[in-house]
Subunit: 349 residues, 2 copies
């Protein structure tokens, strides 16, 4: 009942284990006749080399791990990861690699990292002081960071978050919005402070806002999901202080805000403008289509995978320049209603 091993094939074919191994990995080292016989027997027996045994002796598993900072059961609610995997996947296919999703094992990424049999890691959104990073270079597995601070040890792939955020905020300001709100991404996994990405986007928003001399924005923390975005909207000030423009750090959050606003009887963009971040595909289909900051997610995945594969080959690699972002203006933003119009400041609901 148990699995067919190389020894079974060897004895069935009347040769040594070495010969069987050669048949698959070094066929030219075997005579025609033996080669065919061994291959035939292996086929008949349904032999497949044990992957773990193979990985152990070859010191490579043919797998790269994606270090995910959240639970699997929630992280895919954001299309971002799916997009990223499309990019990673392209290079994995080229190089015959499979992808292992590595979420925290009962809360601990460190533990998960040790368990994972991979040749390299792509790590998402780790803060520079996450303990997982320590484990990573202690174990010495090549790693490429995405959305983190780069370090001499590990190259990082980033986009111009701050620049993108700045343009987004300026867009609202130029449309005449003064009273803004920011939907801030939740803090890093174990830390209380924000992720590098959130920090950079926030810096961009604030830079534009203070440069324009607009009042300090109200800010609410919300996870990257439609529900969280909707919830965040509820937490916004109402009445006279109600923001007319919302800067969300994610598209999902922005969509949530839009939906909650509409449910509350506001029209988007007439009563409230909302701008997202990421430009996931769905942003183009929403009602209204979302104004958002586009970042090249698939390209980011491709680039990170490419760098990782370089590192896995032993070549030294340094962090590339941040990929550029750009504002995609669709229909969730419009000119701010004039302060004197009767509509301004009306109570919600």
């Amino acid at each position: 009942m148990s699995r067919v091993t190389i020894a079974d094939v060897a004895s069935a074919a009347g040769v040594s284990k070495t010969a069987v191994s050669f048949a698959f990995n070094n066929p030219e080292r075997l005579g025609q006749a033996t080669l065919e016989r061994v291959l035939g027997v292996a086929q008949d027996l349904g032999y497949a080399p044990h992957p773990a045994a193979r990985a152990l002796s070859m010191r490579r598993s043919g797998t790269i791990g994606v270090l995910i900072p959240q639970r699997l059961s929630t992280v895919f609610a954001n299309p971002f990861l799916g997009e990223l995997i499309q990019g990673l996947g392209e290079l994995c296919e080229e190089h015959d690699l499979t992808l292992l999703l590595v979420p925290p094992l009962d809360g601990s990424l460190e533990g998960a990292i040790r368990q994972a049999s991979v040749d390299g890691f792509i790590s998402l959104g780790l803060s520079p002081d996450d303990r997982a990073l320590g484990v990573l270079d202690r174990i010495g597995i090549p790693t490429v960071l995405i959305d983190s601070e780069g370090s001499p040890a590990h190259p990082a792939v980033n986009v111009d978050d701050q620049g993108g955020a700045e343009v987004a905020a300026r867009h609202l300001l130029e449309l005449g919005h003064r009273q803004l709100a920011i939907i801030v991404l939740p803090p890093a996994r174990t830390q209380t402070h924000s992720t590098p990405t959130a920090a950079r986007r926030l810096a961009g928003y604030l830079a534009a806002i203070t440069a324009a001399g607009a009042p300090e924005p109200h800010s609410v923390v919300a996870g990257v999901s439609v529900a969280a975005g909707a919830h965040a909207f509820e937490a916004l000030p109402r009445g006279r202080l109600r923001p007319t423009g919302v800067l969300a750090m994610s598209d999902m959050g922005a969509i949530g805000v839009v939906i909650a606003a509409q449910r509350a009887g506001l029209r988007v963009p007439d009563d409230i403008s909302v701008v997202g971040f990421d430009d996931v595909p769905a942003s183009a289909w929403t009602n209204p289509p979302l104004t958002t900051v586009r970042q090249p997610i698939v390209e980011k995945g491709r680039l990170a995978a490419r760098l990782l594969i370089q590192r896995m080959k032993g070549r030294p690699v340094t962090s590339p320049a941040p990929l550029s972002t750009r504002l995609i203006v669709r229909n969730s933003t419009s000119r701010a209603r004039n302060l004197d119009l009767p509509m301004y400041g009306r109570e919600i609901e």
Copy 2:
């Protein structure tokens, strides 16, 4: 520079490899003093057991594989997989398992299956005669099928595709639509004929249509993506024979149809009704929100993972009853325009 092994720890702590192993896996078999010393040394050296070695000797890898019928670079364009993984992920977390994505290795799923070091497989949408299935039970790794024909060897988790499709078609027919079109899912990976899911949905559509005595629908094959759906719309007959109702076998396809229709100057649902399948979350946010057949994707993932884990524990498992589907009526469908109205049959563009 190379990795710290159990032997290094053993010699550094002045004990045997066995003792080190026990320190981690069988701490009660060691004395207090030794235990602490070994653990301390291991910590200092940054020791982590080699996952492949561990997997080899323990005969388990702590990983389950998801057999994906398409390339990674395309499959995540459909939110379906992400949703499913949310479900799988819930149970993986409970049982400390990681998830390996196993797409075809240069075209061959069989090859990919052999390489994957996993304790079990979840397989997506395999036709009953796919050669990959043969490999699966030859190797003897527990497997649960999703969206396939179940077999005595492998339990399958399915939803009531046919019933759902039937309700969807009836919905359009009851709204007065006669001239329908069907956007058919593309055939299985290597085969020329359709996947079980596509076949069942098609059967459902046709059952309702013939029962209603409506004319035979036009059908177009299109992949599960917005672009493919849009493309499919272009292939639909125009003029007098233009369908007023479209049955898409996926939400992504449906969204593509909607977008292409709107681009062509049609109003949805006034000029053309479209119904999707799956009810991925994005369907609720589109413009207009999509009428679609809801299937419980996350639940499907949960159930499949639960069954697989049972099988991995050696318990026998049989295919559960199909999960039920239901029609979610939103705004992409409406009463068919009366045949006599001047608008009917107007040329597109």
